[in-house]
Structures are given as structure tokens and as C-alpha cells.
């Protein structure tokens, strides 16, 4: 483990460390923004211009902080633009044009994402059991590709929703089907981030299991329930808050799931199972803490955003609706976890168990509430 970034970095002119690819990335971002302004500047309002600039600067910041994400973003942008171009503005072409039909129409891309995630899970396990560096690298590559295809699928789905009719168009964050895709992508990306940080691929075998489970659900939802259709937004969901609330929530859910799976690895390793193949316990403990910390931070933001949205849509920032209440329970649960670890300084299997149980609490807040309890939240029943 060597320290590449973070605190050990020598102070010096920021530009010095720039690689040619950084410049290309920056140029493409600036060029993209300029192009959008030239094309649509006249019809955008202040908010939209602000959001565009904010998005571009966040992409710049993200790319600077975590280098591989630049390739991801460029690939997603390229493929999405290609797909949009192939559509010629006609939905029917999804079934006529070869590349759309088999690769980058939204449904095809999402199916590719699903396949790649499952393959990556298998590869991670082979890599772990056979101690093969090479297979591990293949698994990482598959996970990156899966995330790429998933994001392309979402981008194209967004575009398709506008092709149905401009008033139907909306960002795909509004149905259970869509948020499951978001969950898969976010969990995978969080994992990839830590994979690189800790230079260790072994945890992929565990984290990707949750992602594969989510993929399993997606496929069941697709084939058995035909729930992949784009539905127009009911009035309650037509809100800016949704676009912030939902992703923030899923960073939380994704991070908590990841922590739970690392917890499973921790428990196995502490019993001696796979111990020689997994990273040392301190590393597992550290990853688990980091995941819960980031999850807690974003879950806090998500809950606050949710309250602000509720204030606008339902007339009260807190109505003790089951979904809200369960969000609070999840939050309290992890607050207690953090206190125990940070204030009491407790470590070891007990916290790992707690993280695993936390996943069940989280899963209930995410799915169980919709299935078993009634309330104001409208992703609906399964």
C-alpha cells in the first residue's frame, strides 16, 4: 500500500502535476459547455445555466479527485451522444438500427450492465479463490464497463422519455426500476473508488454480490412484471427536489450496503475463513468505517432534502410517514454505530455484525416500507 494522493502530497503548483489527459478532459468539458451554450443558450433560463455550470465544475472536480472517473465520464458521454444521434429523434429506430437494438438503446445498455455485473461478480470470486491478479483485473474492467453501460442506459432513457412527448420527459429517477439501476451503479462506483484507494480487489467478490442481487431483482422486475416502461411523472414527483433527494439517498444506501458486505468479509476473516486471501482485518475495518461515514453523511443530506421536498409537496417537513420514519430509524442506527466506534473506540466483530444488520434495516426502509406499509411515498408497490 503506498500513499499516492491525499495528505502526503507535496505542496506545489497544482498545474505541475497535470498530465496531457487532464488537459484533454478539461478541454472537452469546457468545449462541451460552450457548445451547449451556443446551441441552447437562448432558451435556457438562469437556473438551467447555473446547473450546467455546476455540473461541469463538479465533473471537473470529480475527475481531478479521482482520475479514472474521467475515462468513465468521457465514455458515457460519447456512447450516449452516439446513441442519441442514431435515434434521429424517432423512437422506433430502437428496434431497427443494429447498434441501438443490440447495444445502446436504453434497455439494451441496461441489459448489458446487468450481464456485466453478474460476470464481474463471478470473476471477482475466481480471482479471490485462485489468488489470480489477472482475473481480478478482468473483474475490475467488467465492473467499470458495467457502470459505463448502466450510465449510458440512464442517459438514453432520459432522452427517450422526451421522445415520447416533451411533457412526459423527465430524469429517470422516479420508478423502482430506475432507482434500482441507480443503486447498482452507485454501489459499484463506490466500491471501485475504494478498490483503487486500498489497492485491493478481494472485496469485490463481496460487494458485487449485493449488486448482483439488485440485478436479479431488476431482471425479475423486467421479465416477470414488465415494469421497465417509462411512465410519466405523477404531479407529486414533478419537483426539483426529487433530482437531488433520490441520488443522495442512493449514495447512502449504496455505501451502507457496501459496509455490510465488508462486514461479512470481516466476520469470515475473523473466523479464519478466506483469511489468507482477504486484506488484513484493520483494512476491512477501515473500509467499513469509511463506507458508513460517507453513507451517513449523504443519508443525512438526503433526509434533509426529503424534508424540504415534503414541506413543499405535502405541507409539512415531517409527517411521520412510514418512509420518513424508517429513514430516521436507519439514520439513528448508524449514528449509534458511529458513536460506539468513534467515541467508545470499539472495534471488532460486534461492529461488523451491526453493519450487516444495518443492511437489513436499510433494505426494509428502501423496499419493505413500500411493500408492507402504506404511506405518502409513491414509488408504489411491487
Amino acid at each position: 500500500m503506498e500513499l499516492t494522493q491525499s495528505s502526503g502530497r507535496e505542496r506545489g503548483p497544482i498545474m505541475k502535476g497535470f498530465h496531457w489527459f487532464d488537459w484533454v478532459y478539461a478541454a472537452l468539458l469546457v468545449g462541451g459547455v460552450a457548445y451547449v451554450f451556443r446551441l441552447y443558450g437562448g432558451t435556457m433560463d438562469g437556473y438551467e445555466k447555473g446547473i450546467l455550470l455546476l455540473a461541469a465544475s463538479s465533473f471537473a472536480g470529480l475527475g481531478w479527485y479521482w482520475k479514472p472517473v474521467r475515462v468513465l465520464l468521457l465514455a458515457v458521454a460519447g456512447l450516449s451522444l452516439l446513441s442519441i444521434d442514431l435515434y434521429h429523434g424517432q423512437l422506433a429506430r430502437a428496434e431497427q438500427v443494429f447498434w441501438l437494438k443490440y447495444l445502446i438503446s436504453s434497455q439494451s445498455a441496461i441489459m448489458w450492465m446487468s450481464t456485466l455485473f453478474v460476470m464481474a461478480t463471478v470473476a471477482y470470486w475466481i480471482g479471490l479463490l485462485a489468488r489470480s491478479e489477472f482475473v481480478g483485473k478482468v473483474a475490475s474492467a467488467m465492473t467499470w464497463s458495467a457502470a459505463t453501460m448502466g450510465l449510458v442506459g440512464m442517459m438514453v432513457r432520459w432522452y427517450e422519455s422526451y421522445l415520447i412527448s416533451p411533457d412526459v420527459g423527465h430524469i429517470p429517477l422516479s420508478s423502482l426500476y430506475e432507482v434500482f439501476i441507480v443503486f447498482c451503479i452507485i454501489t459499484a462506483l463506490l466500491y471501485l473508488f475504494y478498490e483503487q484507494r486500498y489497492q485491493s480487489r478481494q472485496l469485490g467478490a463481496f460487494v458485487l454480490l449485493v449488486v448482483s442481487a439488485a440485478v436479479g431483482f431488476l431482471l425479475w422486475y423486467t421479465f416477470d412484471r414488465h415494469a421497465y416502461g417509462i411512465q410519466p411523472l405523477v404531479p407529486a414527483l414533478q419537483s426539483y427536489w426529487m433530482k437531488l433527494h433520490v441520488p443522495a439517498n442512493f449514495i447512502g444506501y449504496g455505501a451502507f450496503s457496501m459496509a455490510a458486505m465488508v462486514g461479512v468479509a470481516y466476520l469470515l476473516a475473523s473466523k479464519g475463513v478466506l483469511a489468507s486471501r482477504l486484506p488484513p482485518l484493520e483494512v476491512l475495518d477501515d473500509v467499513m468505517y469509511k463506507a458508513i461515514a460517507i453513507g451517513f453523511a449523504f443519508f443525512t443530506i438526503a433526509t434533509i432534502l426529503g424534508a424540504m421536498w415534503a414541506a413543499e409537496a405535502w405541507g409539512g417537513y415531517w409527517s411521520w410517514d412510514p418512509k420518513e420514519t424508517w429513514a430516521l430509524i436507519v439514520w439513528l442506527n448508524y449514528a449509534a454505530w458511529l458513536h460506539i466506534r468513534l467515541v467508545k473506540g470499539l472495534r471488532g466483530p460486534m461492529l461488523a455484525w451491526w453493519a450487516v444488520v444495518g443492511l437489513f434495516v436499510t433494505a426494509f426502509a428502501f423496499l419493505g416500507v413500500n411493500m408492507f406499509l402504506s404511506g405518502l411515498h409513491s414509488y408504489g408497490s411491487l
Binding site: 414488465h226 443525512t300 405541507g315 449509534a336 406499509l373
Partner: protein, 683 residues
């Protein structure tokens, strides 16, 4: 002094972590109860569900409104107190820590650090100190240089980074307190106290608003409330109702809201796109008024009261109905005028009944592909499904089969004993298997699905043909004539003896009587009682053919009586007659003496608005901002300290490092600093 020590240990307990964690856990568990048990339902519902014993038990525990029950609020208050004490107790310490460089650290204690190292350096003291301070400030540390030890000469460079981490603690925990206080402000504590002291009383009677006594009314100055009101189009309201426990309170508003119109827009696929209320708000103090449109997610805020679009319902639509008397053997109807949410008295025979009109809908979007039963289509086989999913654009899935069934209305018919049967009638004919029918659904209880009677339409697309046929089929005096005509058409050609003909006519009349008394059930009863088992099926077939043939003649007769030309035997008429027989049969189980056919309507909607005043909102938002800042500060600002004790006499440098949080990052950082400083010291 025991009293002091008690106070002290109470203070210790309340501000302890263990107590806080226990509170968090209890709060979480209490919250679960409220999500499992449906909150704030009308009390009778609970009594029915749990029985009297558990009902009163749960009621005493406040489980029907957990989040406002006294014990829940007490836990919350404890949390506020505990967290405040915790903040009060820790903050001075934290601030001192933040400011302090700990430049008085002793060599001895530094040597006990887990993370320390010692270097030798050929460089002179001042040089070392300069290099060290330069290095540390280059790495984001602020440092202070102090003389150390008694023997003079030794210099301690004390440095720290990330001190704001401590502020994170103060911010998050203050935020919890602030948010809870905001919540308690909106939780309407003053009102609860007034209620407790008896200044305000919950109204439980179902009486008109203007008769509610002042003791159950709240003045417009009330700082915080959340209530609902339903306003029909063209009406106005100047109060809202606050649901409290088993009853309500009336909140007077500082303005009047008049609903001009409520409108719903739909997407092409039929799903609702927007709900909007056009209102006129009139200030009661100044008399000035203005127009506004309130939509979901876009409330109107006036005089500190936010007005939200919450729901909608029928506001008393006017319906014009043809009431077909199903007991009269004639095809006769009366035109009646009804309004939704009102009821009409009528009597059939000696039994007085009421018709309660409950709802009207102008649109009924249903998924025809699913036969309207809401069950999603089952898989057709994985492979074909997979092919179907690949390359589709997900755009039109599920929307292909949507159709609008047109207006419908619902009503209940309640007999003298209070038993009600519910009906749902569509205004427009609905196509089923290429034929058109008027549909009327009935059910005995809200838990059942509607069962539909289908009235077939005649060649003029009207229900009259069916009603005339029904009249003849129920008119015993018409049976001989029907039988005669049937014999004429059925027995043509072959020479049939008079006796045989008479026998044929007799059995026709008999079958008509059986059917006319109880439908198919009447025929079936006769067969099971009087025909040997072996013959039953054959006889049933024969009777059915007789019934259909006779009914066809009855239909011709009814047309003749109405002055219409006879029908050709082209299959259409036969199908119509078969449908009519089914419908007449179903009417024996219809449970109502009339069929109400909707002919005209004037839709009047009512908009459900929620009005709130929540001054605590901004307190909560402020607290939330603190919380987010605090959480990020706590997680992502890492507090670290470095000490370098420079001893020029021996040329040695003692390096020690600490962090308030031991993580892997810290281990790594320590290694790096150790290495770099060692190099720095070499000269």
C-alpha cells in the same frame, strides 16, 4: 453532601454517551410502532380491528398517535436535554483543544506516544527549527515554537492541523438540539397545554362548522397549525379543521379562500399530469382579494399560512338520470335529478329505501389489455421476453391498451334495515367481444369487487329494446301470445297435429314461467326436482333452445308493439336475445328495483387543501444546515498533531505524532512524515 452527589450523578447520567445511545435506540424502536400500526385512523376502525380490550389498552398507551403521545415527547425532551448537556459539557473542552498547541508537552509523555521516532542531526538548532516549521507549514500544519525543559536550549516545535474537526462535534450536536426545538415549536406545545388545562376542548360531534363552540375554535393568531379543508367549486372557506385524537378543532383563518375551479390535466396515456385549484383569496382584515392557482409542489403562502393542494373529490356533481323500474313489466322510466353527496328517498312496494349518491367520475382510464383486473401480464417465456426487452426503448411499454371508459357514478341503495348495496354505473356503452353493453356493477360490501350486469344495446344503440323485451318476458299475460308465435315459426312445413302443437305451446309457456320467476335458476330448479337424473342434460338443452326461440319471438312482438319493423334472422338478433336473457337473469340478483341510466351531468369538483403555519420550519432548516456542516467536518477534517523536540546539545530530534482518531490514513501519514523529516534532518 448526598444531595449534591445525586445531582452530580444525574448530570453524569444525562450527559453520558451510554444514556444517549439508549435514547437513540428507544426512539428508533418507538418509531417502528408508529409505522406498523396505522396512525390517526378514526377510532371505531381500531375498535373493530383489535377488539375492545386491546383498543382501550392501545388507546391508553397512545399508540394510535405515537409521535404525539406524551411518552414519546418525553423521550424527545430527554434527548434534547441529554444532547444539550453533552454539548455544554464538552464544548469548552473542545474549544480549548482547538486553540491549544500543547506546546508544554513533556519529553517523557512524548516518549510514551505510540507514534514517535528519534533522529540524529548534524545541523545546528535554529536551522533545524526553521526547517521543521517550514516543512510543517508546507503540509498544512500551524506550529508554535517554545522553549522546553529546565536546562534551556531545548526547543519544542508543536504543530496541529484540522482543528476544525472539533467544531464539527459542536455543530452536529447543537444541530440536533436546534432541530428538536424547531419540531417542538411546530408540535404545538402551547395548544397541548391549553388542552390539558381545559381551555380548549376537542369537538367530536358531527355538526355544521358555524355551530362549533368557541372552546373548540382557535384564533387566526394561533402561531402553528396544520389542518385540512375541502372546498367545492364555487364555494369558499374561512376555517380549516385540525384532526386531534378522536375529534377535531376549528381553526379560523385570517382570510377566505374561494375555489373557482379545480382542474386535472392528463397525459395522453391517461395518467394524471397536474392537479390545480384556481382560488380567490380575500383578506378578512382589508377586504382585498387576489387570484392564484395552487398546484402540487407549488403551494401559495399568504400571511404566514402555506396553502397546499392535497387532494380532490367530488363536490356535488349534478346528475340527470333515467330511472328504469325493474319490477314493472313495462319499459318505463322516470327522469330524476340527483347530486353527488346527497340522497333521495323512494319506496319500492312497501319498503322505503334511500339512494345515496357517493361519487362521480368523468374519466375512467383502464388497461383493456389486462381486462381491467389490474393483474400484470404473466411472462410469455424467458427467451421471447428477453428478445422483447432487448432493443425496445421502454417508451410505450404498458401504455398500448389504455382506454377511457367514460363517465361513471356510484351510489348506494340502503334499505329500511340499513343494509346497503353499492352500484357503479357507466354512462357510455362499453365494448366486450365486439358487442356493446351498458354496464352496471353491484357489490354487497366495499371489500368485494363489483360484479357487472351487461345490458345489451339494440339496433338503435339504445337500451329501450332490451327494456321492452324484459317487460314482455316478465309479463305472464303475454306468454300465450309469445308461445303461439313461437309455434307458428318453429313448426312450419311439416304437418303437425293440433295436440302436438298445443303441447309445444304449453311447454313454451311453462319454460317462460320458470324463467320469469327466477331466471335460469327457476328452470334449473324445475329440472332437478322433476326430471330423472339421466334425462336432465337433454331436457336442459331443449328448454334452453325453447327459451331462446321464444324470447326471440317475444322480441319481435315487442318491436311490433313499439311500431318497429321485425328483425331479420341474421345471427345478430339471436345474440342480442341471448345477451338479454343473461341480463334479465342477472337482474334477479341485482338487489335494486331500479336501474339508473346517466343521461346528462354537470361535474362539480371539490379541492382538498391543506393549510399550515409552521414557524419552526426555519429553525429546523437552520439546524439541518448546521448538521450537514458538522457531519462533514467530523468525518473529513482529521485532527492531527506533531511535536518535534529539538535538543541542540545532543543533536537529537524527538518526533511524535497523534490524532484524535486512529485510522489507517493516520498510520500512513505518520510513516511519510517520519521518512521525510528524517531526510530533512540529514542536512
Amino acid at each position: 453532601m448526598p444531595a449534591l452527589s445525586f445531582k452530580k450523578s444525574l448530570y453524569e447520567l444525562l450527559s453520558s454517551m451510554r444514556f444517549a445511545i439508549s435514547l437513540l435506540t428507544v426512539l428508533a424502536i418507538a418509531s417502528v410502532i408508529g409505522t406498523v400500526l396505522k396512525q390517526n385512523e378514526p377510532y371505531p376502525n381500531y375498535a373493530i380491528e383489535f377488539g375492545q380490550f386491546w383498543f382501550s389498552m392501545f388507546h391508553t398507551l397512545g399508540l394510535f398517535d405515537v409521535y404525539h403521545s406524551a411518552w414519546f415527547l418525553v423521550i424527545l425532551c430527554f434527548l434534547v436535554v441529554s444532547t444539550s448537556l453533552c454539548v455544554l459539557r464538552n464544548t469548552p473542552l473542545m474549544l480549548r483543544e482547538m486553540r491549544s498547541f500543547r506546546e508544554h508537552a513533556q519529553e517523557n509523555s512524548l516518549r510514551h506516544f505510540a507514534h514517535q521516532a528519534e533522529f540524529e542531526s548534524p545541523l545546528p538548532g535554529p536551522d533545524l527549527v526553521e526547517r521543521l516549521t517550514g516543512y510543517l507549514s508546507g503540509h498544512g500544519f500551524r506550529s508554535r515554537v517554545a522553549q522546553a525543559g529546565e536546562n534551556g536550549g531545548d526547543v519544542l516545535v508543536a504543530a496541529k492541523a484540522g482543528s476544525y474537526h472539533r467544531l464539527g462535534y459542536v455543530l452536529t450536536h447543537t444541530a440536533i438540539v436546534v432541530i428538536c426545538i424547531g419540531g417542538l415549536i411546530d408540535g404545538n406545545v402551547p395548544l397541548k397545554i391549553e388542552q390539558l388545562l381545559g381551555y380548549k376542548k376537542i369537538e367530536t360531534r358531527d355538526i355544521p362548522e358555524n355551530q362549533v363552540p368557541p372552546v373548540s375554535r382557535l384564533s387566526p393568531a394561533n402561531p402553528s397549525f396544520r389542518g385540512n379543508v375541502t372546498i367545492p367549486e364555487g364555494s369558499s372557506a374561512d376555517v380549516v379543521f385540525l384532526n386531534v385524537g378522536p375529534g377535531y378543532l376549528v381553526q379560523d383563518l385570517p382570510f377566505t379562500i374561494m375555489l373557482k375551479r379545480f382542474h386535472i390535466e392528463h397525459y395522453p396515456s391517461g395518467q394524471p399530469k397536474s392537479f390545480a385549484s384556481d382560488v380567490v383569496v380575500t383578506d378578512r382584515a382589508t377586504g382585498r382579494s387576489f387570484d392564484h392557482t395552487i398546484t402540487v409542489n407549488h403551494p401559495l403562502v399568504y400571511k404566514g399560512v402555506a396553502i397546499y393542494q392535497a387532494s380532490f373529490e367530488d363536490g356535488g356533481s349534478k346528475l340527470t338520470l333515467d330511472a328504469w323500474n325493474l319490477f314493472a313489466p313495462t319499459a318505463k322510466f322516470d327522469e330524476i335529478h340527483a347530486r353527488v353527496n346527497q340522497s333521495l328517498q323512494f319506496s319500492s312496494g312497501r319498503n322505503p329505501s334511500t339512494m345515496e349518491f357517493t361519487d362521480f367520475r368523468a374519466l375512467n382510464i383502464e388497461n383493456a389489455g389486462n381486462e381491467g383486473n389490474g393483474e400484470p401480464q404473466k411472462s410469455r417465456g424467458l427467451l421471447s421476453d428477453a428478445m422483447g426487452v432487448f432493443g425496445t426503448n421502454a417508451a410505450d411499454v404498458g401504455n398500448e391498451n389504455l382506454r377511457d371508459l367514460g363517465p361513471s357514478f356510484q351510489y348506494k341503495i340502503r334499505d329500511a334495515q340499513g343494509q346497503a348495496t353499492e352500484y357503479n354505473n357507466y354512462m357510455l356503452p362499453i365494448e366486450v367481444a365486439h358487442r356493446w353493453y351498458l354496464m352496471s356493477g353491484m357489490r354487497g360490501s366495499p371489500a368485494e369487487p363489483f360484479r357487472y350486469v351487461r345490458f345489451p344495446l339494440d339496433a338503435n344503440s339504445r337500451i329501450d329494446g332490451f327494456m321492452r323485451l324484459r317487460g314482455l318476458l316478465l309479463d305472464k299475460t303475454a306468454y300465450p301470445e309469445i308461445a303461439r308465435r313461437f309455434a307458428d315459426t318453429a313448426l312450419v312445413g311439416g304437418a303437425v297435429s293440433q295436440t302436438l302443437r298445443q303441447k309445444f305451446m304449453d311447454s313454451t309457456v311453462k319454460v317462460l314461467q320458470m324463467f320469469g320467476s327466477l331466471g335460469y335458476e327457476g328452470v334449473a330448479r324445475f329440472i332437478t326436482q322433476s326430471v330423472p337424473q339421466a334425462e336432465q342434460k337433454k331436457v336442459a338443452d331443449t328448454y334452453l333452445r325453447i327459451l331462446e326461440g321464444a324470447a326471440f319471438q317475444a322480441y319481435q312482438l315487442s318491436r311490433e308493439q313499439a311500431g318497429e319493423p321485425p328483425l331479420k334472422e341474421d345471427g345478430n338478433g339471436e345474440q342480442f336475445v341471448r345477451d338479454s336473457l343473461n341480463a334479465v337473469n342477472d337482474l334477479f340478483f341485482y338487489g335494486a328495483p331500479v336501474y339508473l341510466q346517466l343521461t346528462r351531468y354537470d361535474q362539480i369538483r371539490a379541492s382538498g387543501l391543506q393549510l399550515t403555519r409552521s414557524p419552526g420550519k426555519y429553525v429546523v432548516y437552520g439546524g439541518s444546515a448546521l448538521l450537514v456542516l458538522g457531519v462533514f467536518a467530523m468525518f473529513y477534517i482529521r485532527e492531527r498533531r506533531i511535536w518535534c523536540l529539538v535538543k541542540p546539545q545532543t543533536g537529537r530530534v524527538l518526533f511524535a505524532m497523534s490524532a484524535n482518531r486512529k485510522t489507517l490514513d493516520f498510520e500512513r501519514e505518520f510513516d511519510i512524515h517520519k521518512q521525510r523529516i528524517a531526510e530533512l534532518m540529514k542536512g
